[in-house]
């Protein structure tokens, strides 16, 4: 299969993705009605669908570690963030056992999801086994939402103040960079299924020879995606916190103590 063919035919229309996405949108409309923030939520659903149904999803399914990493980053960091932004401002996200929402727990959830799913055994299992893959997807979305809650909760009082939020995000950035550096510089294969894919689409020749995606380079790109662009997501969030910190500077509520 050539590159052009693949870009045309590499889409996955069947499966559970579309119905689940439509159900999510329907649930949102039923709960909150039509409002401007629906745009964020729709973007979240759209991006989640794209990571599964587009050629990226096809490649992530056993062909390329780097495509898997793109999917991973989108599901853990971007989709939950957009979904939280899509909630109405008044919506409380208070968690029942209060400890579950503690920033330390949330931080460990977000960073842990990154590390645990890249343990070689789990990384392979998520590709070869359907149920594990489903578990991975759901856990990434949920843990991602838990991670973003202290930053993006709709209610101001449920968010961390900016200096703490900056430390929180910076810590996550460092923790993910470290894993990215390990993946990039590692002399051994981390996720061995991608080193010898089952070529169900007849695509491997194009990837290896046409695109020059050797297994080593593939893993390197995967690691670099986590090291650099992923950190830019955190960095953008940090800059948003800096903006939030300075935004209230001259506000009238400021009375001299």
């Amino acid at each position: 299969m050539s590159t052009g063919q693949f870009l045309l035919e590499g889409w996955t229309w069947g499966g559970a993705s579309l119905p689940v996405g439509a159900a999510a949108l329907a649930l949102y409309l039923a709960a909150f009605g039509f409002r401007r923030r629906l745009g964020y939520f729709a973007a979240a659903v759209g991006l989640a669908l794209a990571t599964f149904m587009s050629p990226v999803g096809t490649l992530a399914d056993g062909y390329l570690f780097s495509a898997h990493m793109l999917q991973h980053i989108a599901l853990l960091l971007v989709v939950p963030a957009l979904a939280l932004l899509g909630l109405p401002r008044a919506q409380s996200l208070a968690l029942r056992p209060r400890a579950a929402g503690h920033p330390v727990v949330a931080w460990v959830a977000g960073v842990g999801a990154m590390w645990v799913w890249h343990a070689p055994a789990l990384c392979n299992a998520a590709v070869t086994s359907g149920p594990v893959h489903a578990l991975q997807t759901v856990s990434l979305l949920l843990l991602g939402a838990l991670f973003w809650r202290p930053i993006l909760a709709p209610r101001e009082e449920e968010r961390l103040p900016p200096p703490q939020a900056i430390l929180y995000l910076f810590g996550a950035c460092v923790a993910c960079s470290v894993l990215g550096i390990i993946l990039t510089l590692s002399p051994v294969t981390v996720c061995s299924v991608y080193a010898a894919p089952v070529d169900r689409l007849g695509l491997l020749h194009t990837l290896r020879d046409g695109w020059g995606m050797t297994p080593e380079r593939d893993q390197q790109i995967g690691g670099l995606l986590m090291w650099v662009p992923m950190c830019f997501i955190y960095l953008s969030a940090i800059m948003a916190q800096v903006a939030r910190w300075f935004a209230g500077a001259g506000s009238p509520e400021a009375r001299e103590a």
Binding site: P161, P163, S177, I182, S186, V228, L235, W245, G248, G250
Partner: protein
């Protein structure tokens, strides 16, 4: 000597009763203002040394095929020049300014830890002397300021120059981390009432942000230096490919420190520009929030992009691509700053006195440095220009064009506050023009030399078309800069003796350091003006039209934590960086099995048991804290003693583990597993020992204090450190003992 004491007394820098023993008073001082000045004097002294080395380089290169310096001598001179200028000139000068200015700007009476401050300062002359002792011990290092492996390894640099280099950088690194922890604690805990974090003057804000960069970046270098020394002195092979090591690893470690280092010296310079330009434009800074916020962006970005120093190493196109893109992004926040400074000047009533002249020149030169920087970020151009004088010109535009010029601006700006005397404006203008013309003559032409292909780090060159005269121009420029330095030295000395009296606020500036006398009294302020905005002195002088009030919306605005805990927390952040490098090195070097001892020879069960003792010690220490809170001093001391015993048992276990390995013939140099194992667990054990000593001191303090609360802050701070050491062991134990058994 007595002359000097007379000068100091005249300038108000030594009280009449101090005149007799003024040297002792200055050597033993813990006053942040005097320490700041000591830093600056030290920096000026090393500036002379590094400057003479620069002149030697330029003399050697003035004409083709010159034989003034031997090749080896030349290598030593440029290595010492680079090391001196960065670690002994730029950093001490900026720490000195921060030391003097920050406590005054935030309305504090001193730094949070005056004695730590003195300690950190004295490490600078000590480290500097240590570095130069190498000359007596067989020769200075001759490996460039970044000491690339394997050249810096024993087989290729067998005299002790590199050892002195590494040891002195370790000493200086400790000092820098100490100062930065102190500065963070000072800004967080010593601010005057109403000096909220969002009202900080930009210089103090940038020093605050920058200090985080120092505590994150320096430990990375320290870890690398420790590994290099272990290679050189104990026969390990971290960076020696023949023994299985990786020379590239040294480059990663060095630049993971080295790139932030550029910003560590640049951000304080940005702070200086942000103070001086508004005052001499008679306008508040344009876009305070953007200048302050872009500093945060620069600090974070600088930690991410070090691999752009390694485009020519052969990391592959893929890696290059990511770092080209991320490096170019840095142009955005720096561009924001340049725009903000320029917009501050637009429409201002600009007074072109010496401090302002230096800062305007720094702004223009930094713009050029930034443009060549963006060009070098393109990997394709970098491959061509990397090892040429184009790069030399680029980074001298950053280090001299921006940083030295900003420091000189700051020196002229704050000298009246330090000494109570104005510098001569006439001599200042001479310094400025000699410096500016000399600098641009030296370095603009080097861009063209580089594009014409002249490589850097060569002791001489063939008489190729154009190279001879361009190098001569560069050399003449360097001597003009030397002349500027002499005028500056004369100006400093003459003004200290007979300069015009400065008064409290000679520049009509707006920040708090100008609200006290020049020089300030020992505890800085008699009383402070009201602080409602970022320019309290403007508000005081213009009650009819004060600056808009900067609010206190966030709790964190008035955040003032306990200082011991703050310092230990900061120290822990720094130590995490150190251990992260050692742990990553362990994982990297042990990714593949190798002959000789391995993780499978270790006794998991036994060490696991001893580890439980260590983890239990965290619990007992926590119980000790709880007892302290409840006022049960007996229980507190009992739990504290239990913690010490458990910690000691853990160390005993480590000793047994070492004995077993040593008995089986494993030495630190045997293979990479042994090197990484002994290095990582050894440094952890060292930290446990330090923690034990600290716990014993707290125990002794509680005994000495008698009844009463004792020193709760000391116990809490030490406990924090102890918990951290235990947490590190969780990671180390998992990486060394558990991970190999999961495979």
């Amino acid at each position: 000597m007595s002359d000097l004491s007379a000068i100091l007394a005249r300038a108000g820098l030594a009280t009449p009763e101090e005149r007799e023993h003024w040297t002792m008073r200055w050597i033993s001082t813990v006053d942040h203002k005097r320490i700041g000045m000591l830093y600056l004097v030290t920096s000026l002294a090393f500036f002379a040394v590094g400057g003479i080395e620069a002149l030697l380089i330029r003399l050697q290169l003035a004409v083709p095929n010159n034989k003034l310096l031997q090749p080896d001598t030349y290598n030593m001179v440029f290595t010492m020049h680079g090391t001196t200028m960065i670690f002994l000139v730029a950093m001490p000068a900026l720490f000195g300014l921060a030391n003097f200015v920050v406590p005054l700007q935030i309305g504090a009476s001193d730094m949070a830890f005056p004695r730590l401050n003195a300690f950190s300062f004295w490490l600078v002359p000590f480290g500097g002397v240590l570095l130069h002792l190498s000359i007596l011990a067989g020769g200075a290092p001759a490996v460039g300021w970044f000491a690339y492996a394997p050249l810096s390894e024993m087989p290729y640099s067998s005299h002790h120059g590199v050892d002195y280099w590494a040891l002195s950088l370790l000493v200086l690194g400790f000092g820098s981390v100490g100062t930065s922890i102190n500065l963070i604690a000072t800004v967080l805990t010593q601010r005057a009432a109403h000096m909220t974090l969002r009202r900080l003057p930009l210089f103090s804000w940038m020093i605050f942000v920058n200090s985080f960069l120092v505590i994150l970046a320096l430990p990375v270098l320290n870890a690398g230096l420790a590994m290099l020394l272990i290679d050189r002195l104990l026969g390990a092979h971290f960076f020696l490919p023949p023994g299985g090591g990786s020379a590239i690893m040294w480059q990663h470690i060095f630049w993971a420190f080295g790139h932030p280092e550029v910003y560590i010296v640049a951000i304080p310079a940005f702070g200086i520009l942000s103070e001086v330009i508004p005052v001499f434009s008679r306008k508040p800074i344009f876009g305070y929030e953007f200048v302050a916020g872009s500093t945060v962006a620069i600090a974070f970005l600088s930690l991410l992009v070090w691999a752009h120093h390694m485009f020519t190493v052969g990391l592959g196109h893929t890696v290059d691509l990511f770092f080209v893109a991320s490096t170019m992004l840095i142009a955005v926040p720096t561009g924001v700053k340049v725009l903000a400074w320029s917009a501050t000047m637009v429409g201002g009533r600009i007074r072109l006195e010496t401090p302002m002249l230096f800062c305007v020149a720094a702004l223009v030169q930094f713009l050029l440095a930034g443009l060549t920087g963006v060009s070098l970020a393109a990997a394709a151009l970098d491959w061509q220009a990397k090892n040429t004088y184009y790069l030399v010109a680029h980074f001298h535009f950053v280090f001299v064009g921006l940083i030295v010029f900003a420091i000189l601006g700051a020196l002229h700006y704050w000298f009246p506050k330090m000494t109570g005397r104005m510098l001569s404006e006439r001599l200042g203008k001479w310094t400025f023009w000699l410096m500016t013309i000399g600098f641009n003559m030296t370095f603009i032409i080097q861009h063209f030399l580089g594009l014409a292909g002249m490589p850097r780090r060569v002791y001489t060159y063939a008489d190729l078309p154009g190279w001879g005269w361009m190098n001569m121009v560069s050399t003449v420029g360097a001597f003009l800069m030397a002349a500027a330095a002499l005028v500056l030295a004369w100006n400093l000395a003459a003004s200290l003796w007979g300069g015009r009296r400065a008064g409290d606020n000679p520049w009509n500036a707006w920040t708090l350091e100008w609200a006290t006398t020049s020089p300030p009294p020992p505890l800085n302020f008699e009383r402070l003006p009201a602080i409602r905005s970022r320019r309290p002195l403007w508000d005081a002088a213009n009650p009819g039209r004060p600056d808009p009030v900067v609010g206190t919306r966030w709790k964190a605005d008035t955040f003032a934590p306990e200082k011991n805990r703050t310092a230990v927390t900061t120290f822990i952040i720094s130590e995490s960086g150190f251990f992260a490098v050692l742990i990553l090195a362990y994982l990297f070097y042990n990714a593949r099995p190798q002959p000789g001892p391995s993780a499978h020879d270790l006794d998991v069960a036994k060490t696991g048991l001893f580890s439980l003792c260590l983890f239990a010690s965290s619990l007992t220490l926590w119980l000790s804290e709880v007892s302290l809170q409840k006022g049960r001093r007996g229980a507190m001391r009992a739990w504290l003693a239990a913690t010490v015993v458990l910690g000691a048992v853990f160390l005993l276990g480590q000793g047994l583990e070492y004995r077993g390995l040593l008995a089986s013939g494993a030495r630190i140099g045997t293979n990479l597993f042994a090197s990484t194992f002994f290095t990582l667990t050894g440094f952890h054990g060292l930290h446990v020992c330090v923690g034990l000593v600290a716990l014993l001191i707290v125990l002794a303090l509680t005994r000495a204090a008698g009844p009463g609360p004792g020193r709760p802050a000391a116990l809490r701070a030490v406990a924090l450190y102890w918990h951290f050491v235990d947490a590190v062991w969780v990671v180390v134990f998992s990486a060394i003992y558990l991970l190999p058994r999961l495979r």
